[in-house]
Assembly symmetry: C2
Homo-oligomer: 336 residues x 2
């Protein structure tokens, strides 16, 4: 079985996206939130069949851990209520997809984060998604300000109540920022990668995983800059008198394989232990084109992993077993 | 000849650092700036001989393109006058080192940047350093706010007057941020790498090098996350309908080799054209320890490059010729 741990619902029906625009317009105008539109099962099937599901079938991917479009989370827009309504609408849509295609999609939720609002306020939606909708994890935004980094680091105690709920529910979080309003950053070109690197270094500096040894975090996009600079991070841990990375961070942190060329995947697998790697593609997502050098989609990351010619056991870990281990509720769903 | 394009004077005499503290204290108190201390040539020799110069000799590095300590630039501290005084003091110290060791050190200057202050105000100090002190380049901070990213992107027209002065003086800039006050970031662990990635993506998105084809930029720390994600950046250029990276960015942008493990250097040289790579170590700097896996200093980057077993011509490019091409005033100094 091949499990993609990182898929976003970027091909939602137009009515969903239109509602979001109307919702924000209503909030700005101070008028009532418009009624969420009727979206039929057929609308959902159309939005999935010829994009995400077709690509999964073409690439031989069996299941995708599926979450709302990351760049559209836009936690900086509106206020807490706006973010809650939007998160609920996005998560409900993901839930419907998982019900229509229970063998292909497993839900991961967006959180109703909002700048300056305690993360504890996101616990209720996490709980709803996990306990009522059968989701297996969440996307956690370390910068709900949209590129201004006004929150406390992920290792600050203010995040702990949410982490404790994650541990109780036995679900991991993927660290994932969203759209940016700071013109210095391009969402998929720099903000995402920067957030990955930033989160990792925060984990290096603090005792988060000593305090919460059961907490599991997925850092997407191949870990940002981290594997490429693995020597730098090992050396910094040493300089800062922190424990070695394998002890202090890598029991709890996992990287996906969203790296869109062979040399990057080669490095990732050379440097990072196989037990810390989850197959992922970020599909349909950040980079949609075909690489003229290979004739294949940039984000067809299965090809790069297959080209490694891994031992059977390692291959199975990356494509399946690690995901089932990091997302225990996925394991339960598959067994059921 | 082996030229290190990225060395910082991190071992300055204590009197210099003390003066900075006093300068900032005086500014905060609203009192007169204290007189800069007397620092003898012997003080300078002591600060260099047993650290930077010893390490250069041990590693077989002939010359270092030498600039003030990057993390101490701290453009966010004080105001424009404070930054100007500090930049002048730091640059004058670098100048003295280049005079004491003309065969070993070539100067690159710190700029008197300050948040919200036009970059054009830094032209005078650039000109002084190049024309009067014989410097060959500058460090340009894309985020003088210290981790809050409140400036315009490097491709914004507001930076152009400075770039035009660089072109006129025929000097490149290394993009280099400094200390951060934003607790989300660790200077050398995430802020530096993020800035490198951010700057590169800004260049991908805009026509800066079409407007200024003679402008040359060095992105340090092996290009941040960029080479590891080279497929992502090639794919994003395609998606954004931008020209291929080789045409739009890589005629003007160069990466150093400050990547502190062999797999990272292997990837860098596999992915990036040899003409775009400058040998660098960031020494004495970010990571000072010895890698227990190799028994050698993390930042002894010459070892990683030598292990590539490059063809003689390529080796000479990375260690010497590219630096002499990117820094034409260095070429003049060596010839003289």
């Amino acid at each position: 079985m091949i499990i993609d741990c990182h898929g976003h619902y970027t091909t939602v029906p137009a009515a969903h996206t239109s509602w979001r625009k109307d919702q924000l317009a209503a909030w700005e105008a101070g008028t009532a939130t418009p009624r969420y539109p009727d979206i039929s099962d057929n609308d959902l099937r159309e939005s999935i069949e010829d994009s995400q599901l077709r690509l999964m079938r073409e690439r031989g991917v069996d299941r995708t851990i599926f979450s709302p479009r990351a760049s559209a989370m836009a936690h900086h827009e509106g206020d807490e209520t706006v973010s809650r309504q939007w998160a609920e609408a996005c998560n409900d849509l993901i839930f419907r997809v998982t019900q229509l295609y229970p063998d292909n999609f497993i839900g991961v939720c967006q959180l109703p984060q909002s700048p300056g609002v305690p993360i504890a306020n996101s616990i209720a939606e996490l709980r709803r998604c996990v306990e009522e909708l059968g989701f297996v994890g969440c996307n956690l935004n370390p910068d709900p300000s949209g590129g201004h980094w006004t929150s406390a680091p992920l290792t600050d105690r203010s995040w702990y109540p949410f982490y404790e709920a994650m541990v109780e529910l036995d679900v991991p979080a993927m660290v994932h920022v969203s759209a940016v309003t700071n013109p210095n950053f391009h969402a998929t070109g720099s903000a995402y990668l920067n957030a990955d690197t930033t989160a990792f270094m925060q984990f290096v500096q603090a005792d988060l995983f000593r305090d919460l040894p059961e907490l599991r975090i997925v850092i997407p996009h191949g870990g940002g800059a981290v594997p490429y600079h693995w020597g730098r991070f090992r050396g910094l841990a040493d300089m800062l008198k922190r424990p070695p990375l394998d002890e202090s961070v890598m029991r709890n942190v996992f990287f996906d394989t969203c790296v869109y060329h062979q040399p990057g995947i080669d490095l990732l697998f050379e440097v990072i232990d196989i037990d810390n790697l989850l197959f992922g593609s970020e599909m349909v997502g950040a980079v949609r084109g075909i690489d003229p050098r290979t004739g294949h989609y940039f984000d067809d990351t299965r090809r790069y992993v297959e080209a490694l010619d891994l031992a059977a056991d390692d291959r199975e870990k990356v494509f399946e077993r690690n995901a089932r281990r990091v997302y225990p509720r996925l394991e339960q769903l598959i067994k059921a």
